[in-house]
């Protein structure tokens, strides 16, 4: 600790946060109206405001990150600041884990508590006897107490391929990272490109799976708690894969077009990689608890 203190860069004023706040306002206010308009078939401006908000947010992100990249390229960032970014990113990922935990919690609660109780388990003998005499507990719940029927999504086939694809993408990303650290730029570019490609094919297959679910299995968002948890968990995961893939694409373009990142300084790359691995782990949990078990 005795070496000379490396200055901790505190940026001067920045217009981007307030732009971001306005963007979130437009998104939230727009979405709040849009949801009502869509579900009630009413005319309105909510959708446009939401889109404008998203556009503003993208504009803000581009501007903000350009500033950050410039500062970083000008060497304003000390090691300590680099650590701040790393820690910030890890705790952000932790918060994402907790978001998924809420939905996994709902899944476990429905499977182990709500559904057995509706069939008379624990202190709910009367619930089954009086309210739902015809209901039988099962998971996946193919016939709800209210009588909606659906079919289960098997884990063999598309979900299994998707698991392999995502696992493979984590491996290729690791190779890309090694390429970056060993200054093998060719390997870096190839492997990173491959990762993005794998991510895209995952999303494509997931899309096909959804169409299959809706058209062939009658498994829909509103077909009871099985469909609810299936679509919200895989849906939010898919959203995160999309964001992760976009993140990786930006990194890829920076490497391809501007030759950014060095073997020693590549926080953005690392953050994108962490995010990607996190998305991968979430998928593994999904595969096990939503599809297989």
């Amino acid at each position: 600790m005795s070496e000379k203190y490396e200055h901790y860069y505190v940026p001067d004023q920045s217009p981007w946060p307030i732009v971001g706040a306005v963007a979130l306002f437009m998104m939230a206010f727009g979405a709040g109206h849009f949801v009502n308009e869509v579900t009630k078939d009413q005319p309105g401006y909510g959708g446009y405001l939401l889109l404008a908000g998203v556009a503003t947010l993208i504009f803000m992100l581009v501007g903000w990150f350009r500033n950050v990249i410039d500062e970083s390229m000008h060497g304003l960032y000390s090691k300590q600041l680099d650590r701040s970014y790393r820690q910030g990113m890890s705790w952000f990922i932790f918060s994402e884990v907790m978001f998924f935990a809420a939905f996994f919690g709902a899944l476990f609660y429905a499977r182990t508590i709500a559904i057995p109780w509706l069939d008379g388990a624990s202190n709910n003998a009367s619930t089954a006897a009086v309210l739902w005499p015809a209901f039988e507990a099962a998971w996946p719940l193919l016939k709800t107490p209210g009588g909606i029927e659906t079919q289960a999504m098997p884990w063999q086939g598309l979900p299994l391929y998707n698991t392999l694809i995502l696992l493979a993408s984590s491996v290729t990303l690791q190779f890309a990272h090694m390429g970056l650290e060993q200054n093998k730029r060719g390997q870096l570019k190839l492997m990173l490109g491959l990762t993005i490609l794998l991510g895209a094919s995952f999303l494509y297959l997931q899309g096909i799976e959804y169409v299959h679910a809706y058209q062939d299995l009658g498994l829909k968002l509103d077909s009871g708690i099985y469909g609810n948890t299936f679509f919200l968990l895989t849906g939010f995961h898919g959203l995160h894969v999309t964001l992760g893939a976009l993140f990786l694409t930006v990194i890829f373009l920076r490497i391809l077009l501007k030759n950014h990142f060095t073997a020693h300084k590549h926080f953005a790359f690392q953050a994108a990689a962490w995010y990607w691995h996190f998305v991968d782990v979430v998928w593994l949990c999904l595969f096990i608890f939503v599809y297989v078990l």
Partner: protein, 531 residues
């Protein structure tokens, strides 16, 4: 120092002389932790008055039996939005404001670790609350399902504004999470050399733990509101038995967030009181290490007690017993804290300036709230207390005379450091005594009303409750008016007053008291060495 190309020190020199920018831009674009702290505090104060105005509507309606001023529908919207504003708009931002001002100064950091994100965290809030307040003017009214928004009242049976409520909670959550990440990273990464974890002031410690609670549970709240959204608008049945869900599932998810949330609103208060009591007792804090351990145990236990809000929902006996025992256990570390404060005062040399008065009131009144909390933990008795005014009394004791009083104490304690002027002691004492008396007239009788059987969240009541409700309302109006004194005092203190010294208080210890008052725009750009 590896690949840095330009000399950072040259840049640093240049930056040292930066004062604040001029005009509105200073506040919109700022990255300065002191500016942002000020913004948070002023925002919290504004929200405190807006939420307070709603409380006045509630108390005016309840002044007499019968419906006089508002209709039940609007009454429900008032209780709901009052709760949401006070929790998410007043108490939490006030604590975040204090963290912004104080954490960097207390650990010898140049600023918060991620200054731009810090500004973003703040500026989301005014927008989020505008959405919430605007929803009150929508067709069908704003949210009227209580701040706990139990399904299916908040899903199938709610008004169109529910979507706005959901999305405003979403962006509030984003703000809180980013704020919490900032606090954690600042504390982990920006401590001055020699400032080990066990040397950190307790305010820093309690906020450190609070921030972990925040990033652990705010996303869960986001999940809960998302499920409410899809249940209401997109046909899912998370909280609908007909689809295999359970309305009680909502309560489990909500309180898994909600219970740590109430500690989010009280742990920083513990830190504040632990800073103030030693200063005015002129004696070091008793049991520093045990305070840290007690705070951590409270935080850990907070994840195991959520269902004590749900004893009447029909859980099996073993679950009720588990949550009862865990909840009772929380009394142990909380007790340790109170004992430590008392031991700190013991054989000190006390003086009683306004911060100390608020801190002492905090200790007594928060403990009363703790006692009623212990009573509420006893499941069979909770069946009688649950959802009555006894509960209302309990959580207002911990939140108003607990959290809010600690925030007042903090404001008085650090105002001289922030403004460079001493506040008006006489006016402060007036504010304290008026608040103390009125707050007890307001909340103490609620215990009796609740025990006598008055349910909470009702706009009209049986005749036997009339006298006490009138008394409570009088207390409420008086407490509301008393807070105007505080605004007056703060304005006076910003405008001028006796110059404050660097140390301000005779017994004050800590890094923030080593820099001049008012604190310079940039402090500790080079970290101090801590022995």
């Amino acid at each position: 120092m590896s690949t840095v190309t330009t000399d950072p020190h040259a840049h640093a020199e240049h930056e040292h002389h930066h004062g604040p920018a001029k005009g509105l831009k200073r506040w919109l674009y700022t990255t300065n932790h002191k500016d942002i702290g000020t913004l948070y505090l002023l925002f919290a104060l504004t929200m405190f008055f807006i939420g307070g105005a709603m409380a006045m509507v509630i108390r005016a309606e309840l002044f007499q039996p019968g419906l006089q001023i508002v209709q039940p529908d609007f009454f429900n919207q008032m209780t709901t939005v009052h709760g949401l504003i006070m929790v998410f708009g007043a108490v939490m931002p006030a604590f975040t404001g204090l963290a912004n001002w104080l954490v960097p100064m207390m650990i010898g950091a140049p600023d918060m670790a991620l200054p731009r994100m810090n500004n973003w965290s703040f500026w989301i809030l005014p927008f989020a609350f505008s959405i919430l307040l605007l929803s009150l003017f929508m067709e069908g009214g704003g949210p009227g399902f209580g701040w706990t928004f139990y399904a299916p009242l908040s899903t199938t049976y709610s008004s169109d504004s529910t979507a706005l409520f959901v999305f405003s909670v979403h962006i509030m959550g984003i703000s809180s999470i980013m704020g919490a990440i900032n606090v954690i990273v600042t504390i982990m990464n920006l401590r001055a050399p020699g400032m080990t974890y066990m040397k950190m002031p307790l305010f820093v410690w309690t906020w450190f733990i609070t921030a972990y609670l925040l990033i652990a549970v705010m996303p869960v709240l986001a999940g809960a509101v998302t499920m409410v959204l899809t249940d209401k608008y997109f046909g899912t049945s998370f909280f609908d038995a007909a689809g295999g869900g359970d309305p009680v599932l909502f309560q489990h998810i909500f309180w898994f967030f909600g219970h740590p949330e109430v500690y989010i609103m009280i742990l920083p208060a513990f830190g504040i009181v632990s800073s103030i009591v030693p200063t005015f007792a002129r004696k070091p804090l008793f049991g520093y290490a045990s305070m840290v351990y007690a705070t951590s145990s409270i935080a850990l236990l907070s994840f195991l007690v959520w269902a004590h809000h749900m004893f009447t929902t029909g859980m099996p006996v073993f679950a009720e017993l588990f949550f009862m025992y865990c909840t009772m256990l929380i009394a142990v570390p909380t007790g340790v804290k109170v004992f430590n404060w008392v031991a700190t005062m013991w054989r000190g040399a006390m003086t009683f300036e306004v911060p100390m008065m608020f801190a002492l009131a905090f200790i007594v009144l928060f403990t009363i709230g703790g006692f009623s909390g212990l009573m509420l933990a006893i499941t069979p008795a909770d069946f009688q207390y649950h959802d009555t005014y006894f509960v209302v009394a309990h959580f207002h004791y911990v939140l108003v005379t607990g959290a809010i009083f600690s925030i007042m104490a903090a404001a008085y304690y650090w105002l001289p450091k922030w403004t460079g002027h001493m506040y008006d002691e006489t006016l402060g004492q007036w504010h304290f005594w008026c608040s103390l008396i009125s707050v007890n007239v307001l909340f103490f009788p609620m215990h009796f009303v609740g025990l006598a059987g008055m349910p909470r969240r009702i706009p009209d009541y049986a005749l036997q409750f009339a006298d006490f409700n009138a008394l409570i309302s009088i207390g409420g109006f008086a407490f509301g008016l008393s807070q105007l004194l505080f605004v007056w005092l703060v304005v006076k203190c910003i405008k001028g007053g006796e110059k404050a010294t660097a140390q301000v208080w005779e017994g004050a210890e800590g890094l923030e008291w080593t820099i001049p008052s008012p604190a310079p725009y940039h402090s500790f750009t080079t970290p101090p060495e801590i022995k």
